[in-house]
Amino acid sequence: MKARDWLGVLPFVGMLGGVPFVNRVEPYVLGMPFVLFWIVLWVVLTSVIMAVVNRLDPAAREEEHNG
């Protein structure tokens, strides 16, 4: 596995592995209970991570140029 493939593991670690430690209501962030905020945060980070993976992946870029 390449380094960029390992990036794909991060969302799992954050979204699943983090929950046991953040399973509480307070502090509210953006109006949401903390555990909900944590999950939403990781959804957003997942998008960011996948954008980075796309950037690093030669296969993804190559086809872009060929249309």
Binding site: F12, M15, N23, P33, V44, T46, M50, A59
Partner: protein
């Protein structure tokens, strides 16, 4: 006939009309009907994939679970986002192989990889059996929407009939082209409806999102976090994993992968799709708002919470728009499900039994199976009482059993052989069936074990049994086939 119903029926007619228009000028052979001639770009694939997950379940089940279970409903948000992550690595090889071998269905993939039509029948059967609860879920949602929006003047049973007839006509005429176009209308409509409701309702009743959550927390302490037992954190983690693995194993999702123009379509989509799941957050807000505003909905009635709150809050015409969005969320996935199940039965079951049947005949049989499948699901819809989430989870644990055999086939030389694949899937599905019928959980099997283990999704156990059997049978059959090369011995093994 109130204005809500008029709007809902106008949208239904518009959807059927655009579905019929979409197939104009195209020769609707099998490849066009089911995989759109493999010509769909990023946007259509985005809409199809998103169209399949934002179903009535999102709309009614998501809010229903937030209403009746609280924090455990968050699992939906997590599994969809994570499923997109694995799609980056999973879908391009599937697509490439499918294109190379001109595959049309999910079952074709297994037939081709393992060189076994019988395995194809098994995969088709698992897919169709899993699709039935999913279809029931859509039909149930349709019934709820139409009957609630009629302010009680149309009974749920009649409403279900109306919806089912609409979907059936629509699928028979236009196949996947209709679904893609309706998906476009649906996604725009549902986006605005969900965001509007999710913000308007908490502000209208509580003055904001945080005051709404504080009120819910004060009334029901512990409701906004995962409980220590039952739907606990370990339930959350295991359920998310099982559903992530099952996500692309749905035959209709798997099949829609084939309709992409190139493999990069999937890679690009993995950036936008997780953000798109944030829409679910607004659905949760609606469900949480409903807790104190329309209290007392028990069990399966939790699925009514979004519509009950709408009826209480809005004018009929707004209820009509909400209902219309909900109707489309049932129509698009419903049509994909019906089409896929019919294709599987015609192509991967009937064709194997009648090898001489012509392509035209197979296509005709697929279309004729659509109303048959509709009626079967309709029957169960009108007789059952499970909540939408329960139905969804049941279908998921079935399709997830296809994942190991798929995963280990992706290399050019599959790690396991057809016997292993067949035995693994069978063992997994039987475990799920046994568990569903006898209502066994890990907790009932091992009552003294700690909650962390007791709360694990039983799908994990089925998956483990599946994998162990799969590798076990592969090793045994491989040894038998290589050590004794005499024909007498291999004749004795069943040819599957």
């Amino acid at each position: 006939m109130n204005s809500a119903l008029i709007i809902i029926f106008a949208v239904l007619l518009l959807a059927i009309y655009s579905g019929i228009r979409a197939q104009k000028g195209k020769d609707m052979n099998m490849e066009q009907w089911t995989v759109g001639g493999r010509g769909f770009g990023s946007i259509f694939i985005f809409l199809l994939v998103a169209g399949e997950i934002y179903t009535t379940f999102t709309f009614l089940g998501g809010s229903g679970w937030a209403y009746s279970k609280g924090a455990p409903s968050y699992y939906v948000l997590s599994y969809i986002a994570l499923a997109y992550v694995i799609s980056y690595w999973l879908l391009p090889p599937i697509w490439r192989y499918a294109k190379q071998h001109r595959l049309v269905s999910q079952s074709d993939f297994f037939v081709s990889k393992y060189n076994s039509p019988i395995l194809g029948i098994l995969v088709a059967a698992v897919g169709v059996i899993a699709i039935i609860p999913y279809l029931i879920l859509q039909f149930k949602g349709l019934g709820i929407i139409v009957s609630e929006a009629s302010y009680g003047s149309i009974s749920p049973a009649v409403a279900v009939w109306i919806g089912v007839i609409g979907v059936t006509i629509y699928v028979m005429i236009s196949g996947i082209h209709g679904s893609a176009w309706t998906a476009a209308i649906k996604d725009i409509l549902i986006f605005f409806v969900v965001v509007f409701m999710g913000l308007y309702l908490p502000f209208h009743y509580y003055g904001g999102i945080q005051p709404m959550f504080e009120a819910v927390d004060a009334a029901n302490p512990g409701f906004l976090t995962f409980p220590d037992e039952g739907l606990s954190v370990s339930w959350y983690i295991s359920t998310v994993l099982v559903t992530v693995f099952g996500f692309y194993m749905w035959p209709h999702t798997f099949g829609s992968v084939y309709s992409a123009k190139n493999e990069n379509v999937f890679r690009k989509n993995t950036v936008m799709l997780p953000l798109y799941t944030i829409m679910l957050l607004f659905v949760f807000f609606v469900g949480f708002t409903a807790i104190l505003q329309v209290p007392g909905l028990k069990g399966a009635d939790g699925d009514l919470s979004l519509l009950r709150l709408s009826l209480k809050t809005f004018d009929p015409w707004i209820v009509g728009i909400i209902g219309a969005a909900g109707l489309l969320t049932a129509l698009v996935p419903g049509s994909m499900l019906l089409m896929t199940a019919a294709t599987l039965l015609a192509k991967n079951v009937y064709k194997v039994m009648a090898p001489d049947a012509s392509e035209v005949r197979i296509a005709k049989i697929a279309k004729l199976l659509v109303p048959v499948l509709s009626l079967i699901s309709l029957y169960f819809t009108l007789s059952g009482g499970d909540t939408l989430v329960t139905l969804l989870l049941m279908g998921y644990s079935l399709v997830t059993q296809l994942f190991p055999a798929l995963l280990f086939s992706l290399r050019r030389q599959p790690w396991i052989n057809k016997y292993g694949a067949f035995a693994g899937i069978t063992a997994g599905v039987l475990t799920v069936a046994y568990v569903t019928i006898s209502k066994v959980t890990i907790a009932t099997m091992f009552p003294s074990w700690p909650a962390v283990i007791k709360d694990l999704n039983i799908g994990v156990v089925a998956l483990l049994i599946n994998i162990i059997v799969m590798f076990g049978v592969t090793l045994v059959t491989r040894a038998m086939l290589t050590t004794s090369r005499q024909p007498a011995n291999t004749e004795g093994t069943p040819t599957i």
